[in-house]
């Protein structure tokens, strides 16, 4: 649980959170520019103020980019970069107002940083957010404390430190608690789901019927033949020949049915000579199945020409889905949730939409997953 994040456990929730990241980035920049202009008279080094604005812009831009479902999951590195850029904005703004800063409350970097921090909870574990919050809080508090002599209000320096750090501390604590709560809820759901199959799973004898080709052959040819033989008790030379032919055909169909993988049953043009599809985990199979269904149901794709290719060895395998697509239907946007979920169940996910075709390639470890019953 320590390193679980809400996004890893619920990739679709990460997509919802990404909209809020975009919103918080816009708000943070509006706050930064507005307050910067309104406190222009407190600046002693405007160039540094511009640098501070650039730093918070970079933090917001990088944050929005890293939160993309096509780059999921949001890495620790991105969290550190956003924090460092936010802290850089704080330091640069303080330097820009050094000796001329009169009011701590109208300093924009802690507020802009706090607005960004409000949405951290969807991306990183609670403890990591708490750590980053402590570092940022101490940085802001220390800077405010050092500047205390220049502030107009006649209160102890520590009060300025507390008031300056409060926005970051409050939003960081909230984001950390949000992350812990969501991870706890999602893990509880997973634990509950890992138990015995629920009624939503079709059970044996509940209408689940084999539809293999050998069964059709049995019904159409073999059973009528044997029923006649058992009824009449007479066997002619022709019956002997017929029995041998039926046996040969049945044996061939049994082999062919046994060699069909689950994937070749849903996509006719599946190239999987080593039956690597059978080594996918249940989650991986589910994702590929949903992606195939999405392609089938979506006008953006020419699903009749969809092709799946699986290659690999004992340690690493790839599955590539290729399908012609129409860029006018914006297939990239529609693909986002599937890529986001795929990134949580496959080792790597790469995708490309070019020259009227989409190709998605996922990699997985065939030695640790899969079913032996397929």
């Amino acid at each position: 649980m320590r390193n679980d994040t809400p996004q890893r456990l619920d990739p679709l929730g990460g997509m919802t959170a990404r909209l809020f990241v975009i919103g918080s980035a816009v708000v943070a920049l509006v706050v930064a520019v507005t307050l910067s202009l309104s406190t222009f008279d407190q600046l002693s080094a405007p160039v540094l103020e511009v640098a501070a604005l650039l730093a918070i812009t970079a933090a917001a831009g990088y944050y929005v980019r890293a939160a993309s479902p096509f780059r999921a999951p949001f890495p620790r590195r991105a969290y550190v970069v956003v924090n460092l850029l936010g802290l850089a904005a704080i330091v640069l703004n303080s330097a820009a107002q050094w000796g001329t800063n009169e009011i701590v409350r109208d300093d924009w970097p802690p507020i802009a940083f706090a607005v960004l921090a409000l949405t951290f909870g969807s991306w990183r574990p609670g403890w990591e957010i708490a750590t980053g919050t402590v570092v940022a809080t101490l940085t802001v508090g220390t800077i405010a404390f050092v500047q205390a002599d220049t502030f107009a209000a006649d209160v102890p320096g520590l009060v300025f430190a507390i008031l300056a750090a409060t926005p970051i501390l409050a939003t960081g604590a909230a984001a950390s608690a949000f992350s812990r709560s969501l991870v706890g809820s999602l893990l509880d759901w997973r634990s509950a789901g890992a138990g015995p199959a629920t009624s939503e799973t079709p059970s044996e004898g509940d209408g689940v019927a084999a539809r293999a080709s050998h069964l059709v052959h049995l019904e159409d040819h073999v059973y009528p033949f044997l029923e006649r033989v058992a009824e009449t008790a007479e066997v002619s030379a022709d019956d002997g020949d017929r029995a041998r032919v039926l046996a040969r055909e049945l044996r061939t169909l049994l082999v062919l049915d046994g060699e069909r993988s689950w994937l070749s049953r849903i996509v006719r043009t599946t190239d999987d000579p080593r039956r690597i599809a059978d080594r996918m985990s249940e989650a991986q199979r589910g994702l590929v199945r949903s992606l195939v269904t999405h392609v089938r149901n979506n006008a953006a794709f020419d699903h009749d020409r969809m092709r799946l290719t699986l290659r690999g060895d004992e340690w690493e395998a790839t599955c590539t889905i290729e399908v012609p697509c129409d860029a006018a239907h914006n297939p990239r946007v529609q693909l986002a949730p599937y890529v986001a979920v795929a990134r949580s169940v496959f080792g790597t996910v790469s995708w490309q939409i070019a020259r009227g075709a989409m190709a998605i390639t996922v990699t997985f470890d065939p030695s640790t997953t899969g079913s032996t019953t397929r």
Binding site: V222, A247, D257, S290, P337
Partner: protein, 389 residues
């Protein structure tokens, strides 16, 4: 389990996370106001303002109450609202006279408890969905402070931080619902694919078992009919065909207990049937251990032994076989051996399904293992090791 978190639960868990986050947000705001005031009072050497600290504690207690499960009751929410209202009235009345003349109702020490009350409203929104609790909470904080400020001569100033916080929370709650509908639109399809995969797995399993059953029954009957001389079919052969057709009627498509029972029996039955077909089978070892096996294991082992003996009769070129049972505390091993022509397993044609499906597949399904020793001219031995428990 579904591959993705169901939409039906997403709102509940997000609201719970928002409530917990809001609680800590409010607590930090109150903590900052409390500590800041404490430092100022200590610095000025006066304790006249200490009741204001108690008022902050009352607001924090109100937040704690609505966070508790019992705090979701209407009476608890109402009590928390009244306590917050009274506490911030009291707080403003004490703090405002001690502020500088230029400070008004938007002083940071007044904003912080107002913000705390607003975010505690988010906790209440978990019980009473919508933005109303947040707006009401904002009014509970804003109105008494503004009134007190005006009465005490400090005047009114629009509190941008408190209002912004309220507006942000309202936007978050409202947009969550809208954005969730858009971004989670694919959840039903992905969840359905997960369910279909489980159903497909069962179909594949049914087909595999059906394939094994067909191999053990229908293919054998066709082989018999194909091998006998024209004329009247013997009673035993007719019985065999009827039994196999009965398996079909019992439901060979869906693998049912009834179908299995028609074929299975135990190892002793398999040996008896092989002997009835003309094979001389010698049985040695700890045969009693077979009775200690789990029913499913016993059935699988019996069907596998039946296939081994059928292979001896059909392919070995000999009419004798030995069956040896070796038992340990944890496993039972059954060895079927003959001194026939032998074979090379790797060179077997792909349509020779008996050893692959009827023996290896069945034993693997019950957690056992199979080993085959054979060479042309040197006979064949098939070892089937199954767990006892």
């Amino acid at each position: 389990m579904s591959l993705v978190f169901p939409n039906a639960l997403a709102a509940t868990t997000t609201n719970l996370g928002l409530a917990k986050g809001s609680f800590w947000f409010g607590l930090v705001c109150l903590g900052s106001a409390f500590t800041g005031l404490l430092l100022i009072l200590a610095d000025r050497g006066t304790w006249r303002g200490w009741p204001a600290l108690a008022a902050l504690l009352v607001i924090a207690a109100a937040g704690l109450v609505v966070r508790l499960p019992a705090g979701r009751r209407p009476a608890a929410v109402a009590a928390a609202a009244v306590a917050s209202f009274a506490a911030i009235c009291f707080y403003a009345a004490i703090v405002l006279p001690n502020l500088r003349g230029i400070d008004s109702s938007d002083s940071v020490f007044l904003s912080l408890p107002k913000i705390a009350i607003v975010v505690f409203g988010v906790i209440v929104a978990r019980t009473y969905p919508g933005v109303t609790p947040v707006v009401v909470a904002w009014l509970i904080g804003e109105v008494p402070v503004a009134a007190t400020s005006v009465v005490t001569g400090h005047g009114f100033a629009f509190d941008v931080p408190a209002f912004s916080c309220m507006a942000a929370m309202v936007l978050i709650i409202a947009l969550l619902r809208v954005s969730r509908v858009r971004t989670r639109a694919s959840e039903p399809l992905i969840s359905l694919a997960s369910r279909e995969d489980r159903a497909a797995a069962q179909v594949a399993r049914a087909e595999q078992m059906s394939s094994v059953m067909v191999h053990d029954t229908i293919l054998n009957e066709l082989a018999v009919v194909g091998a006998v001389a024209p004329g009247v079919l013997g009673d035993r052969a007719r019985d065999q065909i009827r039994r196999s057709l009965a398996v079909r009627r019992a439901g060979s498509i869906v693998v049912s207990d009834a179908a299995t029972a028609l074929l299975a029996g135990d190892v002793a039955t398999a040996v008896d049937d092989a002997r009835a077909d003309g094979l001389q089978v010698t049985v040695t070892g700890d045969v009693a251990a077979l009775r200690t096996l789990h029913a499913e294991t016993s059935t699988a082992l019996a069907l596998a032994v039946r296939q081994c003996l059928a292979n001896v009769a059909a392919h070995s070129g000999t009419d004798t076989a030995e069956l040896t049972v070796i038992a340990t505390d944890t496993d039972v091993c059954v060895l079927v051996a003959d001194s026939g022509v032998g074979f090379v397993e790797a060179e077997m044609h792909v349509d020779r399904l008996g050893l692959r499906h009827s023996v290896r597949g069945r034993i693997a399904d019950v957690g056992g293992t199979v080993q085959v020793w054979s060479a042309p001219g040197a006979g064949t031995a098939v070892s089937m090791l199954v767990p006892r428990a």
